[in-house]
Amino acid sequence: MVDTLWVATLVAMVAGAVGFFTVLRGSTFVAHALPQTAFAGAAGAALLGADPLLGIGTFAVASALGVGWLSRRGRSDVATALVLVLMLGLGGLFLALSAQYSSQVYSLLFGEVLGVSTTQLGPTAGLTAGSLVALALLGRPLLLEAVLGAAADPRGRHRRWLEGAFLVLVAVATTMSVPVVGALLMFSLMVGPPAAARHLTDRPWRALLLSMGLALATVWASVAAAYLSNWPVGFYVGVLGAGVYGTGRLWAARRRRRRGAHLAG
């Protein structure tokens, strides 16, 4: 249980931080697609009897690079959809060929945080440290690009490189998180908390920290609730993620109304 909580904590920090930039850049579709391509990797690894984490990582990073390579002028929706469809097709094939399917598929799609083993703690901690350092380095250029788009770097020196690095970060966050919260619900952890954080503060770096904090709270509450109720963790993450976002919007709307009333009065 303690290891479980540690892994879940690390996953939440990375998902909250990477998700923040995903939401700001408007690339939540990528955050939705990459975990699902990772699902194909896990299915392939199961078929070959390899470590699922390895399969997930390989497929997620390959998909990220594919999206980065195919996208044009910062528009990645079509490229993402193509990569997603290709990978889902492969995942379906791997599953059909594989003998032991349903229970494993279920845990890959919806997560199995309580089944996290001690051996996952080391790699997860390493990936967390790497991702957070990389985000700290890339934070300012990523933020600037989220505001001005292509014009952030009119001389176009870093743009492709920055896009690629960011997609690989999303892939790494995915690799860590899929075994814990599942491919389908990874999305809720990478989108709900950051989207809520945007509404709660006007300051970018404070919003980033808030996003990580909300992701942590969501995951802790979900793990505790799943442990007590025996319902899937994914259910709680999904519901709480959406709930956090809804609360954030309501709070922002109330604040705006109060400020409006104050100005009018």
Binding site: L24, L143, V147, A151
Partner: protein, 292 residues
């Protein structure tokens, strides 16, 4: 603060630039100079090549012939001709910036990113930087907007903050791509007056593209008129004349002075529909004028 080039020093030189895009010559032998402390208007109808020219100056579009030299004085000269070789001291206000209203970013943060947004690493709290950002916001009359979310700003307010963002690193040259598009007349007037004041106060050279020269007439030191990929430059009186513009457009155009405004319209044997698609002015009768 880096040394401000003396007023009148050359900060941009465009020499005999030709650009071909998908088999069509978009710029033909374009050449002009921009000097420190001067306000230069890059005027021309839609499709004349204004944005392409700005891209060439930024080093994004390599010219097929000719060269672009950007520099703030001796030693600071660098060639902008080619995507790899770029000028560091150019501030840029892009065309059509649309801001997500949910973006957690204040005006102050955007200006601060103009100072060091390209750098890697975590921004640390720094009193000097904060003062510089505050002073820059004051300089564009946006001091009271410092803590406003940029998604809540009006068009004119956002334009002022974007100018602060571009100027805070003290560039020698400020490029603005159609900054007056979509502004109401009052904001348009404010932005033009602000830019004119900044050229005087800071010695920066302003190169602003616009399809309508009229809002700029009171402040322009120099005009670069671009039509059908060709340019004429000089004082407004030298350039905006029938014989000069007719030569540029390749057919007769009339230059009409209406009170303090200038209208450029196609003459009696003006372009047909096909030519208009190439960015030539509309014939009289269909010309829309602007009231002031």
């Amino acid at each position: 603060m880096p040394p401000v080039p003396a007023r009148g020093a050359q900060v941009l030189s465009v020499e005999g630039v030709h650009v071909w895009l998908s088999g069509r010559e978009v710029l033909h032998d374009v050449g002009f100079e921009v000097r420190a402390g001067e306000f230069t208007g890059l005027i021309g109808p839609n499709g004349a090549g204004k944005t392409t020219l700005l891209r060439v100056i930024l080093g994004l579009e390599p010219p097929a012939q000719g060269r672009v030299i950007v520099g703030g004085g001796p030693g600071a000269t660098s060639e902008g001709a080619g995507p790899g070789r770029t000028a560091e001291r150019v501030g840029y206000v892009p065309q059509k910036v649309v801001v997500d209203p949910d973006l957690p970013l204040r005006a102050r943060d955007l200006v601060s990113l103009g100072l060091d947004g390209h750098r890697l690493g975590i921004p640390l709290r720094n009193r000097g930087r904060r003062q510089k950002v505050d002073a820059m916001l004051e300089a564009v009359d946006a001091g009271r907007l410092a803590d406003a979310r940029i998604g809540t700003l009006s068009g004119g307010e956002l334009q002022r903050v974007l100018i602060a963002h571009a100027l805070v690193s003290d560039p020698a040259l400020l490029l603005l791509d159609e900054p007056l598009a979509n502004l109401d007349l009052r904001s348009e007037h404010e932005v033009v007056a602000l830019l004119a004041r900044l050229t005087g106060e800071r010695g920066v050279a302003v190169l602003l593209s616009a399809h309508d020269m009229n809002p700029l007439l009171p402040v322009m030191d120099r005009i670069v008129y671009l039509a059908a990929g060709r340019a004429a430059s000089g004082g407004t009186d030298e350039v905006v004349r029938e014989e000069v513009l007719s030569e540029l457009y390749g057919h007769q155009v009339d230059v009409l002075h209406v009170r303090d405004r200038i209208l450029v319209v196609a003459g009696p044997h003006g372009p047909r529909e096909a030519d208009q698609a190439a960015g030539l002015p509309e014939p009289p009768g269909r010309t829309r004028s602007r009231g002031v």
